[in-house]
């Protein structure tokens, strides 16, 4: 759109969707801590949304179990373009301790494309904020 208004507003206020694809809840607690006033990711305009149709960024925790794979793909497809994926935690990155298990896909990138990985088990909220800022830079560069 003219003057880059859409891009500007997206960078100023990217809405996120939090999706647990089989995490143990440790990463989820850290993601929620990031959203609370103590770490306050809302200073970047980020709001947690309940629907993938409202989201720009999907924050995924967990190592994508076989049961949830198709649901994750569906959530991803419901998110409007341009969409970005933040994989939080070792499990979402590589499968973590669930590598070589019969019931997981060993990471989000086996199923859908990932933009930023945040390692850690669980990652500290500062690390998640760092990943989020990296993602904002990526948004800035993307035309």
């Amino acid at each position: 759109m003219g003057l880059g208004l859409v891009k500007w507003s997206r960078i100023k206020s990217p809405w996120i969707l939090h999706f647990n694809s089989g995490a143990c809840n440790a990463c989820d607690i850290e993601v929620l801590a990031v959203l609370t006033p103590r770490f306050d990711v809302e200073r970047f305009g980020m709001l947690l949304k309940g629907s993938p149709r409202h989201a720009d960024i999907i924050v995924i925790t967990g190592s994508v179990t076989r049961q949830i794979r198709d649901r994750l793909v569906r959530i991803y497809e419901q998110t409007p373009e341009p969409k970005f994926v933040l994989a939080v935690g070792n499990c979402a990155g590589t499968g973590g301790v669930f590598q070589q298990c019969y019931n997981v896909y060993e990471g989000v990138d086996k199923v859908i494309p990932v933009d930023v990985y945040v390692p850690g088990c669980p990652p500290r909220p500062e690390a998640i904020i760092h990943g989020v800022v990296k993602l904002l830079q990526k948004l800035q560069e993307a035309s």
Binding site: T65, R66, Q67, R69, D70, Q100, C101, Y102, N103
Partner: protein, 167 residues
């Protein structure tokens, strides 16, 4: 000390000493008793009713592939001690009698053992899939020792290519 020796002696007299094949104490609070499979329900009834044990912790399975057997272990507890009743069944015909008529809460554990090892609890009210994902093939049992993780993955990929979803 904890009364487990006494409990095992009572169990022996209750179901017959010739039906108790092996007793392994694991102090301070556990004992593993290998019994004959046909005496399983009798032994569980005895432990629950006569010895006053209240609940079942879980049912676990062991794949003894070298002996061509499955071991099924019923862990019974009285909130302080644990008596684990073990039975061994042939691997080619993995069937155990259900114990849901004695302990209704065992239904989920029997379903789990069925998922993981393919051990059928005969007489179970609903032996549907419990833990494995929706599209998981019925004849693939992940904790059996004769399949490797690579074989499981190849099989699931093949099923996916066939159009099965939920794996």
């Amino acid at each position: 000390m904890t009364g487990l020796e006494e409990a095992v002696e009572k169990l022996k007299s209750g179901i017959g000493a010739e039906n108790v094949l092996e007793v392994k104490h694991q102090p301070p609070r556990n004992v593993f008793v290998l019994i004959k499979p046909e005496k399983l329900k009798e032994a569980i009834t005895y432990v629950m009713k006569e010895l006053g044990y209240q609940y079942i912790i879980t049912i676990s399975g062991v794949d003894l592939i070298k002996e061509n057997q499955f071991e099924v272990i019923y862990h019974l507890s009285d909130y302080s001690n644990t008596i684990s009743l073990k039975i061994r069944i042939p691997r080619d015909e993995p069937k155990v009698p259900t114990i849901t008529d004695i302990i209704p809460g065992a239904t989920l554990y029997e379903r789990e053992v069925h998922d993981m090892f393919g051990i059928v609890a005969e007489g179970h009210p609903n032996l549907a899939k419990l833990l494995l994902s929706d599209g998981w093939p019925e004849d693939l049992h992940p904790l059996r020792k004769d399949v490797t993780i690579q074989q499981i993955r190849e099989r699931l990929e093949e099923e996916r290519r066939k159009g099965v979803r939920g794996i």
